[in-house]
């Protein structure tokens, strides 16, 4: 498992490149690679902007049926999300964005697990499986 810091815009680009390499090596199709890297970009930006920085963990995983996947874990110790359902609604935004970061990235991956509490930071785990 690789752990990458997210402290700046450059770090977000590095996370994207790292996820791209991991996804390509694990045999994800080009479209699935693009979806995963796009989701990683959204989530890394959230970690930076809303979480005040944090880390991304990139891991190659195997399913019980033998499929290979990429698991990404984004964690910050920021202010957390008061209302998870609201945060996952298309078009709802806490800032000036489009409100598609969380809801959109959920559509781009196969598994999506968001945990957050006010004052306790935010953790998002996503998995994309090869087909």
């Amino acid at each position: 498992m690789d752990e990458l810091p997210i402290r700046s815009g450059d770090d977000v680009v590095r996370v994207r490149q790292h996820v791209r390499n991991a996804a390509a090596t694990s045999g994800l199709s080009l479209v699935d690679q693009t979806k995963l890297v796009t989701a990683a970009s959204e989530l890394a930006r959230n970690t930076l902007i809303h979480g005040g920085g944090g880390v991304a963990r990139v891991e190659v995983v195997k399913s019980p049926t033998g499929r290979t996947g990429i698991k990404l874990h984004f964690a910050d110790e920021g202010p957390g999300i008061p209302d998870l359902n609201l945060a996952l609604t298309d078009g709802w935004t806490s800032g000036t964005g489009l409100g598609l970061g969380l809801s959109g990235s959920r559509r781009l991956v196969d598994e999506f697990d968001l945990k957050s509490e006010p004052g306790a930071g935010t953790s998002v785990v996503v998995v994309k499986w090869s087909r």
Partner: protein, 117 residues
Amino acid sequence: MDQVPILKIGQTLFVSIQIDLQDESVMLLQEDLAAELAATAARGVIIDITAVEIVDSFIGRMLATIGSISRLFDAETVIVGMRPAVAITLTELGLSLNGVRTALNAEKGLALLNGRT
């Protein structure tokens, strides 16, 4: 931070994005383009994203914003060269690039601009 060059050819500004875009670079491009439109009175902007591997919601929003800004300078924006995987991902993400036109490649983009009424 990397800067994206803007070329003026005739009445058109050409931008070809060849770097892995970070948010600040996209914002800088937006400012540079507005300044260039004001200075040159160009009528069209072509943004080539052939080399762009992903367009997330931030980059997508900035492309749409560039289209809106251009219109204030009486110029039209055409995004060209979008990769198929990027198009699929953008659609699934839920992003529509309102305010900008798209074309398959730079040649078709230029034809679109020249044919406008």
